[in-house]
Symmetry: D2
């Protein structure tokens, strides 16, 4: 049986990445592509790399007949997404890739995003989309909130360690290096090739990055008490990839064992042999996440590093993984593409 | 039925690319990975991006039992390849990715490669591997010679035009821009990031590039008289991609019509609408080739531009396409991956 | 004696490049920085790489007292430039970096730029700023029109050859590869890092690039009859640099001798030994232009390749070179910076 | 008066960078270029970007008449450097860019570099070359040991803070991002463009990087007790630049005040306004170092970030700054080049 899929926000990078992945999916068919600003255009015009595919033209969201849709991906900007989803049929299965339903607490949402939430009821219904940790809830969910790409990477490092109580909760530092596609296709000066190539720098320094809302919510929930990590992202002259360097306190072997046990059997999360460090070049274009653990020369200090592709495992790949669960398909369907290297 | 595949030279970029593609192939299984210099190592050690796959360890070529192999890819350096293949069973199906069997004439081989050929008999037997133009011969062949990546790109532009007699055979210029993975994983100063990033330049200027041997052989064969094109490759600071700008004499509409007709129904060759130019960003990591035709302001002058991925359509993807034919599999099996963008 | 300098359009890349060069100039002082959209801001805010310099804040053009200025650089967008310059004092020495005064014929200007010229009188007065070929006129000029960066590169290859009559005037092809800073700091999708990195392509294909207006004017003037070259620019994933590959007909040795003789004694134009090809990596950030000549395997065909930095020799360095002449300073003052490599 | 300069190891990146800087130096002249492996070649052959300069050909070290040399830069590999310097005249002024004389304690040297030191006496004589903190000793020194490029960057962040006692000495983490030219021109697989572009990763994880020897020596000396920082370097796909993100404990305003006071009047070290973060794009090709201080959301946590060019301020620029002091020249001579952006 083929499931009919709609993608709203098909003219952005995460929308295009969804199309790329679904193109080889054995049981999904793209039935509608919504992109208000590009309505009437073909996908080949907006994303010529997809021109070999037989795809519907882009339409406005209003033009889509959702009664014929089995599952809808929303790859719209935050704030727009909550308004659009609020107007969609209440029985439509939705995977949202925006930030709008990641935070369960309306006050936390308003604190980090600066506006009151326009769909508080849906906010309560939404399931947090970090597949490996919410698998059962996602399988039964109607609305799943895709995580932040940085937030996903940090959680793959830290969730098992916090749950197992093997690290000092007050001494967690996450130094993250993100490629530029994480910022989307927006026209901003600092995203120009001439600005970014050969130029790398920290941004949102001091704990102002919005993905901290997700870290606070999830880590505090796991620990049963407030946990606030220190988090500094950096923009790197590359197109895809997140490398997160976590500085934690504990015993390296215990940490490695804890992570290895937590991810045993997971199809996409690979814990490297003790002492090895991952590289973004080895996960590019794929849904895999590599995690490495190294003991520091200072006793009790450990470095845990994770690498994933922000557009795939950090966003659209995660979304498809969740959609597979929601549609009772094999979780890995359409997602076993090997990384592209070099 | 699953076909058992061996890859010789698995520790190079084209070897790794073969593994990436075959990983999702429905009817092939990698049974042996030969790499003399890395024998005993796992693929995960040499290419960590493939660590999620269940692959045999690397072995020496001597250690492989070829009686259990249905088809063997040879991704070895030229000159080595002819020696190795000469020693393999004479009934083993082989796709060679080196330069060793591309030129049918032993004298032409010696002229371009500087040494007498060590397997002249096999040279006669080998079928030239440009799938779209040798499809039937490849389907029945035992030994197929993969084309040069630059040679493939140039031929996709020029073969239909030469065959149809719609361009001036004495006025063909090909200005080609190639990414660095085309040079392989060899340790050379000019392939270092610090040398190449921000630095682009022509090489093999003046008609000394070895792929000219293929152009001469194929184009002269098509035309029934000697055809010598002018060819200048340039090295570009990118990892994957060839962009070939062809300068020809003829009528633009006729040229566009000729190409469109020649590639109608081809699964991987896409002729863009008249006046559009392709970009390497739109074929990266895929087996597709985009071709554009634009009329110049000077009457009778036409620019024809082709873009493909040197490691995929230019090498390992082409090899797999040919292997599919040789094993009577669907020609597109394992090859419909969409390009990775951004 | 120190000359007081004003720079209009100081918030763009060519404006910043002028500041970089003038910063170490022995006899120039930056007295005013005009940038209407950024008026009131410091240079450190707009270009933090210049924060070590003691510079005036940006002001609107109206706020500048031009009576205190010895020479004014205009680094404004075309069309704006002609309007601004038309309103400046008629005795003010001006080096314009826009396209507005490059074409002497108002009809040619309107053909290539799409609007009637707003300062036809000034258009007649302006001297074309290709220093090596208009040195005397520039020294006596009040208004100098900086050339297009692509136009400069092509002319360094072709002018001496056309003047000497050593190439076939009807068989000139220029395949040019340009880095992205040539497009300026404008917010355009195709200039984003995620779009351009790993993606290269031809643009303005078919003879529609505006710099062809300069080629036509200059080459026809030199030849005494219409000369129309074929010109295809390509955008390359790099920040600085132009590499122009010229395909001409003639004798390689004669061509090399002609170029070597033409540029003998020139401080910035270096003709490489016969058979060598230049690279953009070797001129980055400098005012030098390297030119190489190679004979093709086809008798009578020659490849001539030039490399220069589009922001320096192609634009702001050229402008400073001309300003030095106009102010009777040593032509190389402030311009002998060695290229930055790697 | 012009000082005669020799550069040993002129065929590496730091040697070439010295030539670039000295090319515009008002009182230095390059009298000899030593490079044993390239002896007999011209600089233009090895580094075509320097071909506009009138330079002596490369010679073996034995061929240099050091009696005619006022100061010698040694840009040789470590271990080689100590042997070569040991054989040079004992009254020759030397700036060594290798690691050989950075560590004063022979046991520390052996621990970090794996071999006994071959010139223990010289090791005692050498002055550590971090100009801003050893200015007087350097001015009177005969042998100055250039610092590691990572070590310099970390010390610019931390020395004033350790000296002033305003941070917790046991809670210092340095997460450093380094461009590839820091690894030199060596032919290593991980330095290839195809490996590094789009791929970034941590290396020497766990406290094994040799520059930790310098940190330990200098910070412990300043504090009067052992100080061991946690240090993780990462390799970034860029050619030039180091960005060091320091995580410290203290009060942000006190830390900013301390750094601002420490570097007041320094020509090359610029402390940004409170809350701003530096970028490598703004120091490329220059001798400047930008430092930013930001308070974290966690009280008592502060992020201090420094950016400099590893080849200039981190190596050859520092070396020239020291040479200026040793020859009683203005400290900034030849070093006020503005950064190259974009």
């Amino acid at each position: 049986m083929t499931h009919k899929i709609a993608i709203l926000g098909a003219s952005g990078y995460t929308g295009a990445e969804l199309v790329r992945l679904i193109a080889t999916h054995p049981s999904m068919e793209i039935a509608a592509l919504g992109a208000n600003s590009k309505a009437g255009q073909s996908m080949a015009e907006v994303f010529p790399h997809l021109r070999h595919l037989d795809l519907p033209d882009m339409v406005t969201i209003e033009q889509i007949d959702f009664s014929a849709i089995d599952l809808c991906f929303c790859a719209l900007p935050h704030k727009t997404s909550q308004e659009v989803i609020n107007a969609l049929p209440r029985d439509l299965k939705i995977v949202d890739l925006s930030a709008d339903f990641r935070l369960r607490d309306p006050a936390a949402y308003e604190k980090w995003y600066g506006n009151p939430h326009a769909a508080v009821e849906l906010q309560k219904e939404a399931v947090y989309g970090l597949t490996e940790f919410y698998r059962d809830e996602i399988a039964g969910a109607r609305l799943v909130a895709g995580t932040g790409c940085n937030a996903a990477t940090g959680q793959y490092i830290l969730r098992p360690l916090i749950s197992a109580g093997v690290i000092d909760l007050d001494e967690i530092i996450l130094d993250l290096k993100c490629a530029v596609s994480g910022a989307g296709r927006a026209l901003k000066e600092n995203l120009l090739h001439a600005e970014l190539s050969e130029g790398y720098h920290a941004y949102a320094v001091g704990g102002t990055h919005r993905h901290l809302g997700e870290f606070d919510q999830e880590f505090s929930g796991l620990a049963g008490r407030p946990v606030h990590i220190q988090f500094t992202p950096h923009l790197i002259p590359a197109n895809r990839g997140i490398l997160a360097t976590g500085y934690v306190r504990g015993e390296a072997q215990v940490i490695h064992d804890t992570l290895a046990a937590a991810y045993e059997g997971e199809p996409f999360i690979i814990v490297l042999p003790m002492g090895e460090a991952p590289s973004t070049r080895h996960i590019r274009g794929s849904n895999f996440c590599h995690i490495g653990v190294v003991a520091d020369r200072i006793p009790g200090r450990v470095i845990v590093i994770a690498a994933l592709d922000n557009l795939t495992k950090g966003s659209s790949g995660q979304a498809l993984q969740n959609a597979n669960l929601m549609l009772a398909q094999p979780e890995t369907a359409g997602l076993m593409l090997a990384p592209v290297f070099p």
